[in-house]
Amino acid sequence: MMPDMARFVYNSLIVILVFNTAISLYGILARPSLVKKLIALTIFSDSLNSFAILVGYRLCKGFEQPVPPIVTRIPPTQEHISKLIATAVDPLPQALVLTAIVISLAVLAFLAALTLRIYYVSGTTDARSLALMRARAAVEGE
């Protein structure tokens, strides 16, 4: 790949992911529906995870495409390992993103159960209606 092309694609990806993050933040903050907030939350975490993967990306000498961090010859020689170091991507961001995906999935599962419970109790997942119901209950309680 040409160096300028590689930089253009890399910068475009950064801009796309930042805009994705902004859109999902808007969804979390401004949409009244709890389900849409959940969807926006998944887009938010996926954008940030993709960003972490992008930080771990590298290009080889001469802007060539890299390879996955997997030893393909068993047993490997020292030469093979040196070649892998020269061409493989960073495995650490991928491992950390795997952890982050599991954690965000756990949070998502819990929030989905919570939203479902709210729906069973109150019959709505609209944050405005829920606030209104709470205010009414407080007035009736006095």
């Binding site: 801009v15 590298r58 030893v71 170091i85 493989a88 650490l92 599991v102 949070v107």
Partner: protein, 260 residues
């Protein structure tokens, strides 16, 4: 209300423009790197290296080596968080004991699901069993297995699958079995070292400097990377059962059921 939304909209646009400028041309500028970081060089040079036997994780797949060997404790507590969330969901929605079988979807959907769900089961098992050699691992394999269970839950209805053994209690037992297996695997080398009269590390896989005891990494030339293979398989079982439990509770929880 609309002023509040407009404020959020404007602040998000400013946030996106400012952060993209900072990351591409500004002070936080990210360049596409042409060399690896030193830490990544360390990981790749020791992930499967018989020449550095005492430092190597002996796992050909670099990411799985980090997940289950270098940063094993991190992954262990990630699993704790995952099961904590599932236990929280079950506590919110209530256990599902027995459920009447529903009609399910049409015969076409059921026949297609029989074929597709079986194929997904095979793919998920392959991802989990080859986690130390190819991209993937215990969590990915378990999530794929859970996809097949979820498709079957939607197509055949929860009650019909409960009659065939996909029960709440069964999934809790399977999940607990996977977790107990993971804990036993974590302490396997420690228990072996106590009989040999030395002390090993928790989560130890291969022999380390000062602790010349560890799991074998291959049998007859077939690489299985010591504890990594066991942890992958047990994690796949636990994750698949955890997801199945979650979907059983999401579909059938909160509805009055009959106690067993």
């Amino acid at each position: 209300m609309s002023a509040y939304r407009a404020l959020i909209l404007v602040s998000m646009v400013v946030f996106a423009l400012a952060l993209s400028y900072a990351l591409t041309y500004g002070i936080l500028r990210l360049e596409v790197p042409l060399t690896l970081r030193d830490l990544a060089k360390l990981y790749i040079s020791t992930t499967f290296n018989p020449l550095k036997r005492e430092l190597s994780a002996m796992t050909p797949e670099g990411v799985t080596a980090i997940v289950w060997d270098y940063r094993g404790t991190d992954t262990f507590f990630e699993i704790v968080v995952f099961y904590g969330a599932i236990i929280g969901s079950v506590a919110l929605l209530g256990a599902v004991y027995r459920y009447p079988p529903g009609p399910g979807l049409s015969l076409i959907a059921k026949t297609v699901t029989r074929i597709v769900a079986t194929m997904i089961l095979v793919v998920g098992a392959a991802i989990a069993l080859h986690g130390h050699l190819t991209p993937g691992g215990g969590f990915q394999g378990g999530a794929t297995l859970a996809v097949s269970i979820t498709i079957a839950l939607v197509t055949f209805s929860l009650g019909a699958l409960m009659l065939r053994g996909l029960t709440y209690g069964g999934m809790v037992a399977l999940r607990s079995l996977g977790l107990i297996g993971i804990v036993l695997t974590v302490f396997m080398v420690v228990i072996a070292s106590l009989t040999a009269g030395i002390t090993a590390y928790v989560f130890q896989n291969q022999p380390k400097p000062g602790v010349p005891i560890g799991m074998a990494y291959s049998v007859d030339g077939i690489v299985f990377s010591g504890t990594v293979w066991f942890l992958n398989v047990l994690d796949a079982i636990a994750v698949a059962a955890g997801f199945a439990l979650l979907f059983i509770v999401l579909i059938g929880g909160g509805v009055e059921g009959e106690r067993e």
